[in-house]
């Protein structure tokens, strides 16, 4: 079916970016979201005999929250990890911010933020120390306290990662993805396993991230999450995407 060509963005939100390439947004605040930041074309990934991804295509536009919706084992995580340059693809084309994953994986890594489904962090370090570590990894100086404030964890700065609650863990994971001021952040099932309250809070956080001009790509298997959080959604099943479209369109 391919992707539905972009029409008006449903939210018509004002994008507040100041960088040169987005100058046009300032002049046309209610702009059409025509600028693609991620382009995935006929993506295929085989693990031996297992055909995890069999020809997925979609486009993510700048400034939106894009969801990959599908059941477990549909190939969402694999797709995400290929875009994140963590995994090689079998065939197809993937472009992130104008860079091909085959040619510029290093440059892509500098421009994206990645939250893994169940990433651990260095044992026995406090959140502040972990943020310093990541600040070193990205070679971007940050003030850990400010970063924690961003995700509402400022009072847990001395805590260790494993002492956090499920929701706090996810907030912290998102916090580490924001260190390098990425153009896109990838969140792999950020709300899985959270209680409804924590889930709502996380949605708010994700929306905040988008408000600041960062594109968000997330995977989920909750219909309601796709509907209320995502601007557009690609439905993935058995390694293929059936449909890509606005989350409030009738399916």
């Amino acid at each position: 079916m391919g992707c539905i060509s972009s029409i008006l963005h449903p939210r018509l939100n004002i994008i507040r970016r100041s960088s040169q390439d987005n100058l046009q947004h300032r002049y046309f605040p209610y702009v059409l979201h025509t600028q693609a930041i991620i382009e995935v074309k006929d993506l295929v990934k085989h693990y031996g005999d297992l055909h995890a991804v069999q020809g997925i295509s979609f486009t993510v536009f700048e400034g939106e929250i894009f969801g990959l919706l599908g059941p477990n084992g549909a190939g969402k995580t694999t797709t995400l990890e290929i875009i994140e340059t963590l995994r090689d693809k079998t065939s197809g084309e993937v472009w992130v911010d104008g860079l091909s994953v085959d040619i510029d994986p290093g440059e892509i890594k500098k421009r994206i933020g990645v939250q893994l489904q169940s990433a651990g962090y260095y044992p026995s370090l406090t959140l502040t120390e972990l943020l310093r570590l990541f600040s070193g990894l990205y070679n971007v100086p940050v003030i850990p306290e400010d970063m924690l404030k961003l995700v509402g964890l400022e009072d847990r700065s001395k805590a260790k990662y494993k002492e956090l609650s499920g929701g706090q863990k996810q907030r912290f994971s998102i916090c580490t993805t924001l260190i390098n001021r990425p153009r896109v952040v990838f969140l792999d099932e950020p709300t899985t396993g959270l209680d409804p309250q924590a889930r709502r809070n996380l949605w708010d956080l994700i929306r905040q991230v988008r408000e600041k001009g960062t594109t968000v790509v997330l995977t989920t298997h909750y219909m309601d999450e796709a509907e209320s959080l995502c601007d557009r959604v690609a439905i993935v099943e058995k390694g293929k995407n059936h449909r890509t479209g606005y989350s409030r369109e009738p399916y």
Partner: protein
């Protein structure tokens, strides 16, 4: 990279097992062995070049199983070894009359191995006494038959002239500490590296790192560097406690200390290679201890950590001489007690480095990132 080093270092110092393994255990052993002093019963006696080896006295010394006679060294070399305590005594039987007994026997011992020196002396005194007694018996028989003059029979008696030279006192701690240091480096290198890399891989910490622009080489280097810093600090503590509490000999003081730390660093780098191999081979966490023990335990027992390898039968010694820890221990002892420079132990360093090359080839082959 430095960010990883710093983070990893923090993590290590906060993990109790790392501290116990690289510091606690060796210290316990040092304390235990520092207070009990063991004896090995092998006596090494250097034989002076001028020594008369035809005498019955010499022949009977040859028959004592615990005494090993060293005959292929010059007098100066022997003296040198005596001072270091590698030889327990030097024997010089003056050539003289043809008579089997009538000799002057000189024995030089040193403070470096006082206990064994005096042991040699008592063995020798015993032998000479026996010989003199048997000489008297033949003499008295002769007297019965011939009634010869009694004037010069005294000259036929064997005499022992004993002297002691200054030597460095070789204490139990001088043997035990380098061994423990070597073992601490081995276990920290193998266990520490294997566990840390396995768990970082398992908990996706490494994967999260890969999503950042840092290169894989720097991840490994950063980790290795932190372990190096931690372990060298541990080595330093072990050596200093050894020196100030148990009187461990650092022959050239500060220089020796630095040389020991350099050797520790080399050993650690090589042993970390084993750790990488183990972490790559292990399919689950429970496989790591047995795998790591396969590497460490034989070396623990066979590399002269607790007992010198010359106490083993020859076939076992051949195995011992293949193990890298043997050379590390040997090098550490030579540096600490004999004041050998790094050039003097280039042979040991070369063997350790050779192991390093082999191990890292294997590590590259088996190492897994995911």
């Amino acid at each position: 990279m430095l960010a990883i080093t710093q983070a990893s270092l923090r993590s290590i110092t906060r993990s109790p097992s790392a501290v116990i393994f690289s510091l606690g255990f060796p210290l316990v052993f040092i304390v235990v062995f520092g207070f009990i002093s063991g004896n090995r019963i092998r006596l090494e006696v250097g034989v002076d070049e001028r020594c008369d080896t035809t005498t019955t006295l010499y022949q009977s010394i040859l028959k004592i199983p615990n005494v090993e006679l060293i005959t292929d060294k010059s007098e100066a070399e022997l003296k040198q070894q005596l001072i270091k305590g590698r030889v327990d005594a030097i024997l010089y039987i003056h050539p003289g009359k043809d008579s089997a007994a009538g000799k002057i026997v000189e024995l030089i011992t040193s403070k470096a191995s006082r206990e064994k020196g005096s042991f040699v002396q008592s063995v020798l005194t015993n032998l000479i006494d026996k010989q003199n007694i048997s000489f008297f018996r033949t003499l008295s028989k002769d007297q019965e038959s011939q009634e010869t003059g009694t004037g010069n029979w005294a000259n036929n008696l064997a005499q022992l002239k004993q002297s002691e030279i200054e030597g460095r006192e070789y204490k139990m701690i001088d043997f035990i500490l380098p061994g423990q240091l070597g073992f601490s480096i081995l276990s920290a290198g193998v266990f520490g590296t294997a566990f840390v890399f396995f768990s970082l891989r398992q908990t996706l910490v490494l994967k999260r790192f890969f999503a950042t622009p840092i290169s894989r080489t720097f991840i490994v280097l950063g980790e290795a560097l932190s372990r190096l810093i931690f372990q060298l600090a541990g080595s330093l503590i072990i050596i200093l406690i050894g020196k100030y509490v148990f009187g461990f000999t650092l022959i050239n003081g500060f220089t020796t200390l630095i040389e020991m730390l350099l050797l520790s660093a080399l050993g650690l780098i090589v042993f970390m290679g084993f750790g990488f191999v183990v972490s790559g081979l292990a399919k689950s966490e429970s496989v790591i201890p047995p795998l790591a023990n396969i590497v460490t335990l034989p070396q623990f027992l066979l590399s002269g950590t607790f007992f010198p390898i010359d106490a083993f039968p020859p076939w076992l010694q051949t195995i011992c001489k293949g193990l890298p820890l043997t050379y590390l221990n040997d090098a550490l002892r030579k540096v600490a007690f004999e004041g050998a420079g790094l050039m003097d132990i280039s042979h040991q360093i070369l063997v350790i480095a050779l192991w390093g090359v082999i191990v890292y080839i294997a590590a590259i082959r088996f190492f897994r990132w995911e």
